[in-house]
């Protein structure tokens, strides 16, 4: 179904592309909301991701699903947005961020999932969100993140350990 729509969209059918957007917007927006945490920013990035997907539809390889393709674009957009934010953020904000993290006592480290995710590097966060929260396979996650499978697995392992530590739950993998 999706492949037929992709084929029609590739030939220039905006109706087919609108249908693809309708089918996959939920997955892409949920993925970005976990990465970006401000829902409005996540939705803006999702919109940009779909526009880029429309432009680069010819680059969609055979055997790669449209969802994987758009999620890959969305991940790179989130990376770029974070880099831009880091460039513009003031030294005071960074100092404040470091202070609150280092001064938090060990017994108060049970955080909400969102706050705990926020403490992981973006690569680990994305890998965890894709494979644990959204049930993507390691191969799909590797295609989305543009990383080797081994790297994705190690991101998941380290991310899980850190998350479980922050949330105070036992790691299921151990």
């Amino acid at each position: 179904m999706s492949e037929a729509l992709c084929e029609r969209a590739r030939k220039g059918s905006s109706q087919a592309f609108a249908q693809l957007v309708s089918e996959h917007q939920q997955a892409v927006r949920l993925f970005l909301r976990r990465l970006v945490s401000v829902p409005e920013d996540a939705d803006d990035l999702a919109q940009e991701s779909f526009v880029t997907a429309w432009q680069k539809l010819d680059a969609l390889e055979q055997g790669v699903s449209f969802r994987t393709f758009v999620c890959g674009i969305a991940y790179r957009k989130a990376l770029n947005a974070r880099r831009k934010w880091q460039r513009h953020s003031t030294r005071d904000t960074q100092w404040f961020g470091l202070q609150t993290q280092s001064e938090r006592p060990a017994h108060e480290t049970r955080l909400s999932l969102e706050a705990a995710l926020g403490q992981l590097p973006l690569e680990q966060r994305a890998a965890i969100c894709l494979c644990v929260a959204e049930n993507h396979s390691h191969t799909e996650a590797a295609a989305i993140l543009g990383l080797p499978i081994g790297t994705v697995k190690s991101h998941i392992k380290r991310g899980r350990e850190r998350l479980c530590e922050l949330l105070g739950v036992a790691d299921h993998d151990h």
Binding site: S22, Q25, Q26, R33, P39, A46, F50, Q55, L113, V132
Partner: protein, 99 residues
Amino acid sequence: MTTDPLKVMFEADAAQRAKVPARDPAFQIRVIEAIQHRDYRVRQLRLLTGGILACIIMALLAPYLSSVGDYFNHDTLTSLGVMVTLPAFILLFRKGLKL
């Protein structure tokens, strides 16, 4: 039913979050509008670039055309101008300027 506590937390978190509807026509319309807006800007840019390019080519050719025109009388020169300009306009504005 999963036994992974992290997965359970993610599921609970997803239930608490502001829901993203499975079908969201407003989002769909925003994306299509953004695509149309972008395509329109690209077309405008191509038209502008084409116009500038045509002007530059005409400016470069003008001295040679006028020297050719010197061999002919004024009427021939005018018809030559029309013969060059008319197809250029047709190409630019009727066929959508496919560069």
